[in-house]
Symmetry: C2
Subunit: 314 residues, 2 copies
């Protein structure tokens, strides 16, 4: 059994793995080579290095463990044709992402950007415009692992959470649920609109002019899912027309965002360079999901955690 990592875990994380699975040949490389891919039974990757071409070399490959939640850069068709099982670390991002989202929301509510700028002037002033998060309403597009974790934290702050998904079916830590088709009616009550939706055909340009027009002019709009959610021209127009109060964006239609993109400099826009899921504990947590899956795999079991349906895209 040969397991090929296309990234290199820190020694303190690698050693327990080697010790726990002495029967396995682990290969750790920083990047993907077709040579190693050819020999690998299992591939562990962040999911951004495989292409439809390189996958042709993976003649022995039976399982791909993606140490990421987004799988849209994977050559889905080629992988499905070869009958390779794919599992990922869905849910691993929930702690750092939910903490980042709360950081941005609370910073805006409690005038933290103003405090930072005011400090630079060394002038004591109490003219901060502060509001409270308590008693707000948040609409959460995509109340899955990450969305529910944000919901849980928001509820602790006394926020009413409204989840929104395709079906309108119940989700954890949501006081109420609506379906995509009920979005326009739900938006006027939301003080915060958060998307953590994955990239699928259905979510592409899900938010349109009419949705931003329906939001409160004080709304904090946050896209922490994927950049396909909204045509950036529509978003920029909504910001410029002051149809919303703030936009906090961790994802964009095209990443990296080019240096002349208008979003960098629009007022009340925060550009987070797709780092909300980053955490010093990322690889540690990935391996915590990988190890029990590998134990099962070695016994011939295939009912692993977080098996991905590539045809659905998540």
């Amino acid at each position: 059994m040969r397991i090929y990592f296309t990234f290199e875990p820190r020694p303190d994380l690698r050693e327990p793995l080697l010790a726990q699975f002495p029967q396995v040949d682990f290969i750790f490389e920083n990047g993907l080579s077709n040579e190693e891919l050819e020999k690998a039974d299992v591939l562990v990757t962040y999911g951004e290095d495989l292409t439809a071409d390189t996958i042709q070399y993976a003649t022995k490959l039976k399982w791909i463990f993606v140490a990421s939640a987004g799988i849209e850069k994977m050559p889905a068709q080629a992988i499905m044709e070869r009958g390779i099982l794919v599992s990922n670390v869905r849910g691993i991002h929930k702690t750092p992402m939910a903490e980042s989202m709360l950081a941005h929301i609370l910073a805006i509510k409690r005038a933290v950007p103003w405090i930072y700028e005011q400090q630079k002037t060394r002038e004591w002033s109490k003219k901060a415009r502060q509001t409270e998060l308590r008693d707000s309403t948040a609409l959460i597009l995509g109340p899955g692992a990450i969305g529910s974790e944000v919901g849980r934290l928001l509820q602790a702050f006394g926020v009413t959470t409204v989840g929104c998904n395709r079906s309108g079916k119940e989700a954890p830590y949501m006081d109420k649920m609506v379906s995509f088709t009920q979005l326009t009616e739900a938006l006027p009550n939301a003080d915060i609109v958060i998307s953590v939706l994955p990239k699928t055909q259905e979510t592409t340009h899900l938010l349109k002019e009419e949705h931003f027009a329906a939001m409160k002019s004080s709304t904090i709009f946050m896209n922490f899912g994927r950049g396909n959610l909204v045509d950036e021209k529509v978003l920029i127009q909504a910001i410029q027309a002051e149809e919303i109060g703030y936009a906090v964006l961790d994802v964009f239609e095209e990443e990296p965002l080019s240096s002349d993109h208008p979003l960098w400099t629009l007022p009340n826009v925060v550009v987070s360079p797709h780092i909300s899921s980053h955490s010093s504990r990322y690889v540690e947590r990935s391996l915590e999901i990988f190890k029990p899956s590998l134990t099962k795999w070695l016994k011939g079991e295939t009912d692993l955690e977080n098996v991905v349906d590539l045809s659905r895209g998540y």
Copy 2:
């Protein structure tokens, strides 16, 4: 019955008060005049306008309602000598203050100051140094109404809370309690040290060189209580020696902080100009405490909410 407000609530808050208590003569002024004080049965004040001299005019005064939690600017001796009952809005600050504290903690953990600065350069970079709040330990000096609210929120983020007060007696939302005398032993385990202690003789310079030396070099130290807690020379020395990671300060030995004070410009220091308790809902909440107390008072009852013992100072 004549009730004298030395501040002016907004019309939408004032009118329901007048309607609920038609038998009372309300006087609303922006500031304190000895003339009005002389005629008042009840005084409603932010607690910063009374002096030992002016209180001599208050010959009819039986009750002072302080729409603030800090009462250290009140002429305690003169008020006690006259047997005037004092009650305040203890606890009213807990929501905005706890939200502000979480805003600052999460901003530091999730690299929000870096994100803001990076955005100004319009350069896409993922080199943020982010950590997680989850699984941290917070030491909370003064786990009263505000400290417990911070504790409650921190626990929702998976933080272990250690309360610290004079007696070490149990407090809500604290996983563990220690007394002031056990402080030095508790500090090396704390990732976050928060003080919300009031100003008393006992809390003056409670934190000394040895306490900062005992903290982790990554500790986020937050003073949201009163500036008397630590000699600022000691604090500055601890920051410069990198004995602590960050200092977030809402209170200072002398306020306003003079423009040439070194705290404005030290790295990893956030100066919040004593605004963490501010909220657009402040007066609304004060009146929510005042109204039931006034109802009792009019019936001749004196067991009001938040009666203050001026001899203790809180």
